[in-house]
């Protein structure tokens, strides 16, 4: 039996909107699970149902062997970090951390010990007497995490906790969250719309779209083997290139080139997906790209150009390669790293 089990969990709001469709998944003890998907896909709703902040319309959630559908949020032994931190503005940092412990009737000495431990772990010991309004964004973030850690819950829930931070701090905090989770070893669920965050943090990743889990797996599995066009487009940066084409007798025709021996028995209109990093320059390549724009990132260059009817086709090459606007490139796909999707429903067919 898994640590957290979701069994056909469904959420229908009173106005009839179906936010989550019969979702089932298992999360193992100590695992870091990330829910990723575009805004409004139901990932936060799913998280809030686990926390007990939303009612479950249908289905079951088991946590540590206990059915928690009807258990009050305060009794579920879960801790949540909110997007805007939701620190208690009128309490100092110490009391912010201690409040949950006080409500559980823990003795004063124990509270002090636990708070000081958590504060040390998060390096916020100096700020314990300050009010949240006197802290910077990163410090508030730490306090919010401290409030979760100090209670030693069964599960951590993170609801887009990094989206209010600036880019540099976000990367730093991302790293710290991952380190902290490994150190503390608590099962965690992290909700985000940022695929880089998702890839870097997750032990396993659930890509969610329109209230359905599109794919569940390790980040690398999902990156290498996307099951659908949605997942392929969502995971990976810059985004995968999509070209329209036709598959007939294992031969794919698209935008002025052909690929033979496609491992698929599908016949009909398809979408060909190629990641920008899965191509390289050769003399007589498959794809002819006329360059419109070069983005130099230092380590890499992102080349945008046109091939026949497709605009903004992206190709990624090392930053040392100098490519001028207006030049023509000839590209090959490395190791048959391409994906073919059924045009009608977006499912992978190769």
């Amino acid at each position: 039996m898994s640590f957290l089990e979701l069994n056909k969990v469904t959420k229908i709001y009173p106005n009839g909107t179906k936010a989550v469709h019969e979702t089932s998944m298992n999360v193992e003890n100590g695992e870091f699970m990330v829910f990723v998907g575009p805004s409004g896909c139901g990932k936060s709703t799913l998280l809030r149902m686990i926390a007990g902040l939303e009612d479950i319309t249908e289905g079951y959630i088991n946590l540590d062997g206990i059915l928690i559908n009807k258990v009050d949020p305060s009794e579920r032994d879960v801790a949540m970090v909110f997007q805007n931190y939701a620190l208690y503005p009128h309490m100092n940092v110490y009391n912010n951390l201690a409040y949950g412990l006080k409500n559980r009737g823990i003795s004063k000495e124990d509270i002090e010990k636990k708070v000081n431990e958590a504060a040390k772990l998060l390096q916020i010991s100096e700020y314990l007497q300050r009010k949240p309004s006197m802290l910077s964004g990163g410090q508030r973030q730490r306090v919010a995490m401290g409030r979760a850690i100090v209670r030693n819950p069964k599960i951590f829930l993170f609801d887009e906790p990094l989206s209010n931070l600036d880019a540099k701090l976000r990367i730093q905090m991302r790293l710290e969250i991952k380190k902290l989770q490994q150190k503390v070893g608590v099962t965690s669920i992290f909700v985000t719309h940022d695929q880089v965050e998702a890839m870097t943090l997750a032990d396993r990743l659930a890509v969610i779209n329109n209230g359905l889990i599109e794919q569940l797996g390790t980040p690398i599995e999902i990156y290498n083997n996307p099951k659908s066009m949605f997942v392929a487009g969502f995971i990976g940066s810059p985004q995968m290139n999509f070209l329209e084409g036709e598959l007939k007798n294992k031969t794919l025709t698209s935008e002025g080139f052909e690929i033979n021996n496609v491992t698929s028995d599908f016949n009909g209109p398809v979408i060909l997906g190629i990641r920008p990093e899965h191509m390289s320059q050769t003399d007589k390549g498959l794809i002819n790209l006329s360059v419109d724009l070069v983005e130099q990132l230092g380590s890499d260059n992102l080349i945008y150009g046109e091939i026949k009817n497709k605009k903004d086709f992206c190709f990624r090459c090392p930053g040392s390669q100098i490519i001028k606007k207006g030049s023509k490139l000839s590209l090959n796909i490395n190791d048959n790293n391409y994906y073919v999707f059924d045009k009608s429903n977006g499912n992978r067919v190769n």
């Binding site: 926390a51 305060s74 805007n84 409500n103 409030r147």
Partner: protein
């Protein structure tokens, strides 16, 4: 330093405003230091007179009223108790009813809120006979309970608290829930401290409202023991002169000045909280 014309104009307007507020008070105070004859002959006085101690001593200690049983000091105490009771209960009840309206999504919460709000259109003066009937049937005439109770429901304060609670982010409640706070704890540990300034402001308004009640205590009380300041102002310190009741004007001015002290004290005391709350942005 250059002083702009607009600044001078603004200051002139402000100074005029201050004078407009202060002059009547000064006039009353200055007049309260003269004797009645001077005031009756020459009108209100700008300068100070020599009757200060005598007038104030009389106001505080002389027994007045029809049966000569009640002193002004007693009336100040009565008014203070009444205003304190009204203000305290109003704040507590409004804060709690607003809490119920905002956080407990029960059926008809909105119609109930509007029902409360509509009572603004029905002040005590409109419902004074039914109110009197109820209070007298309950046997509460001539008691502090009777003075306070019919006035403790407040649509205004409920409305202000409701609007304030609505600005508190939902995450705070959710976070508190996960931290094991029940509804009662959330109210005491979060809403009350967060609305400290609001409570202080409401308390000031409601105290002044309670203190200046006239009609209700007038109807409610037959025993002079429960007379309040505002009703006393008309009744005490009269002198019979050839069968006509003449006001003892000097003492009355002293009485007016003294009657201003309790509300002023409340404002001065709570202002500290008020300003503290304004400086610390706690949201």
């Amino acid at each position: 330093m250059k002083i702009k014309f607009s600044q001078i104009l603004a200051h002139i307007v402000l100074i005029l405003g201050v004078l407009l507020m202060v002059i009547p008070i000064w006039l009353s105070f200055a007049s309260s230091t003269h004797d009645t004859i001077t005031i009756l002959k020459e009108g209100m006085q700008f300068g100070l007179g020599d009757q200060l101690t005598r007038n104030y001593n009389e106001v505080l200690n002389e027994k007045g009223g029809w049966s000569e049983e009640v002193t002004a000091a007693k009336m100040f105490i009565n008014s203070f108790i009444m205003a304190l009771g009204i203000a305290t209960l109003k704040v507590i009840i409004s804060a709690m009813s607003a809490y119920a309206l905002v956080y407990f999504r029960f059926k008809f919460a909105v119609p109930i809120f509007w029902l409360i709000f509509i009572t603004l259109l029905v002040p005590l003066e409109v419902r004074i006979f039914p109110s009197y009937k109820i209070v007298s049937d309950l046997g509460l005439t001539n008691s502090y309970t009777g003075l306070v109770l019919p006035l403790v429901a407040s649509a205004t304060a409920t409305f202000f608290f409701r609007q304030f609670y609505k600005t508190i982010p939902d995450e705070l409640l959710e976070s508190a829930k996960l931290d094991g706070a029940n509804s009662w704890r959330f109210f005491i540990d979060f809403l009350v401290p967060l609305s400290k300034t609001m409570i202080a402001a409401m308390f000031i308004f409601m105290f002044v409202y309670g203190y200046s009640q006239y009609l209700w205590p007038l109807i409610m009380t037959t025993s002079e023991e429960y007379w309040t300041v505002v009703m006393g102002m008309k009744i005490i310190f009269t002198e019979s002169y050839e069968g006509v009741a003449l006001p003892r004007t000097a003492e009355r001015f002293a009485y007016i000045i003294l009657s201003m002290i309790p509300p002023v004290l409340v404002v001065v005391f709570l202002q500290k909280w008020f300003i503290k709350g304004l400086i610390q942005t706690e949201k």
